[in-house]
């Protein structure tokens, strides 16, 4: 059962195709990553999911029904470019955001105060937002995203501009929401975070979906066929072995490329059987970053690709 299905979304601005026939499915209870470099079409996709933009084509389906206001009420959305009313007071801000989601009354009030206590903002509840530090404003923004107890949490580049403490805090919130069975969708160009947190991903590049599925499956599919080996002894016998594609000597280490990714264990057994002393045998999983670069990086080696690699 999918919580959310995105079907053939397309969005064009002037002549630029921002999102091109994008389809993917968000499973129930997952942390779902929308991954791509800056300008790939992540925010546009999210905005269409939220109904902020009307798609030129395609639709978003929530548990079998086309999304509308019902969905908006169930979402907590943290856009990349965040903002608060500067002149409003802290508690007032929270209650307002909950109110436009259809939640008001004593219970929300109580929950807002609980969150403020937990995030050490309770003393500031009557201060104006503009008097808070930037870090505290970010905290306030997180609370406003989850205060109405949404079923879905959509975070667009959630880590951009966060200080380390708030980065951890946000991670905590995400994990907590996952434990409560909520669906979390976030977009990022930071592969590390996506790899650590997501169980499902979709990779988007130039508006097109280039990869989608569960992270585990994707990684095993793309996992390394390369083994890096440090040894003592003779390995010349490998040259004629059918599982070996090629062998390259790098001096200290030797790179062995297998024909299939799942043959690494076979190779290790073979080496041990022949009494080769294995000092280091590195057949690690491929990182999401490497998959991303393999899929999207070589197309243009310009600044965009570099930007993704550098962050």
């Amino acid at each position: 059962m999918y919580a959310l299905e995105v079907k053939n979304l397309t969005k064009t601005f002037d002549k630029l195709v921002a999102v091109d026939n994008a389809s993917f499915e968000v499973p129930e209870g997952s942390i779902f990553g929308l991954i791509g470099r800056n300008g790939a079409g992540k925010t546009t996709t999210i905005r269409m999911m939220m109904g902020i933009y009307l798609p030129d084509n395609g639709e978003v389906v929530l548990r079998g029904v086309k999304v509308g206001q019902e969905f908006k009420n169930q979402v907590g959305y943290l856009p990349e470019e965040r903002g608060l009313y500067k002149k409003m007071k802290v508690l007032e801000t929270l209650l307002y955001f909950a109110e436009i989601k259809g939640k008001s009354g004593r219970e929300v009030h109580k929950r807002a105060e609980e969150y403020l206590k937990r995030f050490e903002l309770y003393d500031r509840r009557l201060s104006k937002v503009e008097d808070l530090s930037k870090g505290n404003q970010q905290k306030l923004q997180f609370i406003s995203t989850v205060l109405h107890e949404p079923e879905f949490i959509i975070l667009d580049e959630p880590y951009s501009g966060l200080d380390p403490i708030n980065t951890n805090l946000l991670r905590e919130i995400i994990i907590e929401m996952k434990q409560k069975g909520k669906v979390i969708i976030f977009s990022t160009h930071l592969m590390d975070f996506a790899e650590k947190m997501c169980d499902h991903i979709v990779m988007i590049d130039h508006g097109k979906i280039i990869l989608k599925g569960s992270l585990k499956e994707i990684k095993s599919k793309y996992s390394q066929k390369n083994v890096s080996l440090t040894y003592d002894g003779d390995i010349s016998f490998l040259k004629s072995n059918p599982i070996i594609d090629s062998i390259a000597d790098y001096g200290n280490t030797t790179g062995i490329k297998l024909k299939e990714a799942n043959q690494a264990q076979q190779l290790l057994r073979l080496l041990l059987d022949k009494n080769v002393t294995v000092k280091k045998f590195d057949a690690n999983d491929i990182s999401l970053q490497e998959i991303f670069i393999e899929l999207a990086g070589h197309e243009d080696n310009g600044t965009n690709g570099k930007e993704v690699r550098n962050v």
Binding site: Y53, N73, P79, F97, G102
Partner: protein
């Protein structure tokens, strides 16, 4: 269209605008300021003409006494606004006198010299020499007493009764009577003129204030990026509706305070206004003005919100919204021009014209009888304008608020209308 989300937005708008300290102070201050301006003007008028020195030179020596006698009875002399130094001399001597006093006039030790030649008793032409000879208040004040002396002398030997003389001396008193459907034809003072003027100014001020506030608020939401968070909960249409209604209610509340004050003053027995400025203000007029203002505000605030959405900052918006400002300023001047003659042909059209009717119709109502159908029509025309323009304004708003970057050209804005958003 109208739901709890719109209601929440309206409530927030009211908290931010209507119940903000700055707005309340301004609302209370504006009527006060109008009074203060009036007072300052009166004060300036009275101080300005205090102790001004003049030489009054008469060519006919024997008439010097007449001037002395007549002038000494005038208010401007008894109150010491003007001080006259009376003298008699021939034109030749006057020329020398003028040369001698030239420096004093330039140094403003002497305000001016009035010369009454002998010929004036035939053609009533007198001469005034001063650094600033174009002085309306002086000529207005001196005209009557001087004319009286001329008349007295002219008729002196013509055996006229004092009665005849009094008649000849008196000016024409123009009393206005307002003809209306009411039974009695009421003598009308300047009260309605004052009311019309006050309505024009108050509507104008409030409209500018509310419009600018609405625009600023959209720019702030756009600039602080909060709009995207809000749009994840409500639609752009709901947000715009809530903001417009919030602003319109704020404006009407402000106008209600102002008009209520005027109504209270005019109908209260405590403050007795002189009969010529009695305001003939009916409750129906107040209600109509508020309703008309509400509809007009919705229209204007819609356009101001659209402008706020197009631009990123106040400076760009200020130059960009000139066309809308014109829609406010021109009707204001039309309304003011009504003081002179409320029956100019364009006024009837302007009072029904979309946008313009918000100021012109109330100003006209205060002065002349306007058929009910025209009053209703003005509101309907504004409603139709809203109906025609808001889909476009709404679309520009929807697209504009999520746009950042360089200032869009008008041609680009027109292109937005074709977008599917």
């Amino acid at each position: 269209m109208f739901n709890y989300r719109v209601l929440a937005i309206i409530k927030r708008e009211l908290r931010e605008k209507l119940f903000s300290k700055a707005f309340i102070i301004l609302t209370l201050l504006v009527p006060g300021m109008i009074f203060i301006f009036g007072g300052v003007q009166a004060l300036l008028y009275s101080t300005e003409s205090k102790g001004l020195k003049f030489d009054l030179v008469v060519e006919n020596r024997e008439l010097l006494e007449d001037f002395q006698k007549e002038f000494s009875q005038q208010g401007f002399v008894t109150k010491k606004h003007y001080v006259f130094n009376y003298m008699a001399m021939t034109r030749e001597d006057f020329k020398i006198h003028l040369q001698n006093k030239k420096q004093m006039i330039i140094d403003e030790k002497l305000t001016g010299i009035l010369f009454i030649p002998a010929s004036a008793f035939k053609d009533k032409k007198i001469e005034y020499y001063a650094k600033t000879p174009q002085n309306i208040s002086l000529s207005r004040e001196l005209e009557r007493p001087i004319n009286k002396i001329f008349l007295d002398i002219f008729f002196k030997n013509k055996s006229l009764s004092t009665e005849d003389l009094d008649f000849a001396r008196s000016g024409v008193d123009f009393t206005g009577f307002k003809v209306s459907k009411d039974e009695k034809i009421a003598q009308e003072g300047y009260g309605n003129l004052v009311l019309s003027y006050a309505l024009s100014i108050l509507l104008y001020i409030s409209l500018l204030m509310i419009g600018q506030m609405a625009m600023q608020s959209v720019i702030e939401e756009k600039g602080s990026k909060i709009v995207e968070v809000i749009l994840s909960s409500v639609s752009a249409k709901e947000l715009m509706t809530g903001k417009i209604l919030g602003s319109a209610i704020t404006g009407v509340a402000q106008m209600a305070v102002w008009l209520g004050t005027i109504f209270a003053i005019s109908s209260s027995a405590l403050i007795a206004l002189p009969p010529e400025v009695t305001l003939n203000i009916k409750p129906e007029l107040v209600i109509y003005v508020l309703l008309n203002f509400f509809i007009g505000l919705v229209l204007f605030v819609g356009l101001f919100s659209m402008m706020g959405a197009i631009f990123d900052n106040s400076q760009d918006a200020a130059s960009g919204n000139m066309p809308i400002m014109m829609l406010i300023i021109i009707p204001f001047f039309i309304a003011i021009s009504m003081m002179e003659n409320p029956n100019k042909p364009y006024i009837e059209i302007a009072s029904l014209f979309p946008f313009a009717s918000i100021i012109v119709m109330p100003a006209r109502l205060a002065l002349v009888e306007v058929p009910v159908w025209q009053q209703v029509l003005a509101v309907i025309i504004n409603l139709l304008t809203i109906y025609a323009l808001f889909p476009l304004a709404g679309k520009i708003y929807r697209i504009g608020i999520l746009r950042t970057g360089k200032k869009p050209k008008w041609s680009e804005v027109v292109k937005w209308l074709k977008y599917k958003y």
